[in-house]
Subunit: 350 residues, 2 copies
């Protein structure tokens, strides 16, 4: 089969690799229908973090189950499935807490030794605990829903996790820092799922702003740093917002989050730092802030997200502004790295 | 009147100062019955932070109201009152959120320009929003309750805030890092008020350990750093504890808190850093930790604490292991700085 491989900073290729096979009775093999390129894939592409030469790429995909191991019970060959970006047994103590991203037997697609989503097929460990089926299957689900279902595999679940951790409730006001796909999905989650009344999106890119507004942002603020903080405070009676989603992960974005949070407020932080940022604690302490950080346990949210998407009440699909065949994955990385594209959808299934 | 003054690092004296007077119609003047020396008073004493020469000291006191301004409604001359370490109007948006430590008109006793608790009398701004009366008054309350009431002015409220922010619930397990008065009060709050079933206290000082056990610590762990983390994990099935109170505020104590928290767990942090520590965010992120920091809004908890203390169901008084007359305050600072004493109670009222 064909799969994307990382060669070096700036160089991603598609080559022939061995077809995946079942290696454990709890595995499934999934033929990939749609896959995505993630902002976090860009760190190695930009040379910011090291990555093994010829390693598989990608951790976001939807597909059709081709084969399952003897112990797999909940998914069958032919099922249309969404895979969260981490696999999980869904039975360990952390999984039972709804923290499948901390699963004791878990791992991340595209990590060393694992298959990546940016290929024609993937071996999925712990298939029962990982995969969520889409009712209707490939024949019953219109392909127009594929972008939304693909978004649910990571960015929609991650944006929702950020909004949940920020404590967003019905009628509340929330600020979202980060206008990448995760930030945009946090906007959608805050308004459409959690009922926020006012959603500030910090954004200065016209294409992202447009998606943010379509997703329910009520206020778009182009200023950054102290000016961005002042703009949000001005709109909230000087007090700041009770709920902030931090979807970038840099010292600068954290400083904005801390600066615009109301005393006693909550920051839901899902921006994964590619460096190892440190946070000065004095301001959070004197302002009684709640800093809730986390790699999203997408599997927890996935059944609900799939139900909303197939019911037509949630559509994060517009985060994908570019669709490319798998063979053109290199063009996709380049377009995202240059910010020409918000997010790339690949079509390994043709 | 007599009051403690800071002269320089290591030098605290008691001198004559002008009697306090009402300067606003919302003020009260309180004659101090008992006052305390706080761990945070030691930073300037040790020369770690700068403090103005001849500034007033102390922010923990109970007393009897001597005089009130024309607009004061809820406290009357002759009332026995507890003052939280910060004053607050109790009507601003932050106060209405129960965050009196963020009061828009608030301040801290002993801060520049304010009276300190370590003296014979104090001008209390916003008396209605700040002071909590003790039913029965000075004639009806046994002096044996004074230590507990004095503890409620800061360390008991702060320890409780830490345990509340750590999310301690009935039947839960919690670890407390810090065996100073605040950490010990967090132990008491976790067990006696919030119903924790298992309370780990990180402590290696026999006198503090003894108080911690009397306050309900079920496990005392003397190890620090990685060994301390391993000891707590060993006692919690390898998973760590869901609730951690961080009552020190150094990089080392934070590292312990992060290291022993279960994935998805909460750290309630009330350790006020005298330096400006920064926290590495990667571990909290991958383990989905909730970091809840805050200067305690003691005023929020005070009515309940006073009720429990006068009912005899809560006694944080044993945090005071040394009682001294006001004139001997310098001995008190020296004893706390050398860790001979956990916490000093002064008797300005004789």
């Amino acid at each position: 089969m064909r799969a994307a491989l990382y060669l070096s900073a700036g160089t991603v290729v598609v080559e022939d690799v061995p077809d995946p096979v079942l290696s454990e009775p709890t595995d499934a093999v999934v033929r990939v229908v749609r896959a995505a390129v993630c902002g976090s894939d860009l760190w190695s592409y930009r040379g910011v973090v090291k990555r093994a030469e010829r390693s598989r790429l990608g951790h976001e995909f939807i597909g059709v189950v081709e084969e399952v191991g003897a112990e797999v019970r909940t998914v069958r060959p032919g099922d249309l499935v969404v895979a969260p970006f981490t696999w999980s047994d869904n039975t360990c103590p952390h999984c039972r807490d709804g923290l499948q991203s901390s699963c004791e037997r878990g791992g991340t697609f595209g990590a060393p030794g694992a298959d990546g989503g940016q290929g024609q097929a993937v071996r999925v460990p712990w298939a029962d605990g990982t995969l969520v089926t889409v009712p209707g299957g490939p024949a019953g689900v219109d392909a127009s829903l594929y972008p939304a279902l693909l978004a649910a595999s990571d960015v929609m679940g991650t944006g929702l996790h950020g909004a949940v951790m920020a404590g967003v409730t019905e009628g509340s006001a929330v600020a979202v820092i980060g206008d990448g796909a995760v930030g945009l999905c946090a906007v959608l989650a805050a308004g459409t799922i959690l009922g926020a009344e006012r959603v500030f999106l910090m954004s200065r890119h016209a294409d992202r702003t447009a998606v943010g507004k379509a997703f329910g942002a009520t206020d778009v603020i182009a200023e950054r740093g102290e000016e961005g903080i002042a703009a949000v405070r001005e709109q909230t009676g000087g007090l700041g917002v009770r709920h902030v989603v931090e979807a970038v992960g840099t010292p600068e974005s954290w400083a904005m989050a801390v600066g615009m949070a109301r005393d006693g407020g909550s920051i839901g932080a899902v921006g994964v730092p590619h460096t190892a940022p440190t946070l000065p604690l004095f301001q959070p302490l004197i302002h009684n802030l709640r800093l809730n950080l986390g790699i999203a346990p997408v599997r927890r949210y996935l059944p609900d997200l799939v139900a909303r998407i197939t019911a037509g009440t949630l559509d994060p699909g517009p985060v994908f502004d570019t669709v490319l065949p798998l063979e053109d994955v290199a063009r996709g990385y380049a377009a995202m790295a240059s910010r020409e594209s918000i997010k790339i959808m690949l079509t390994p299934g043709g």
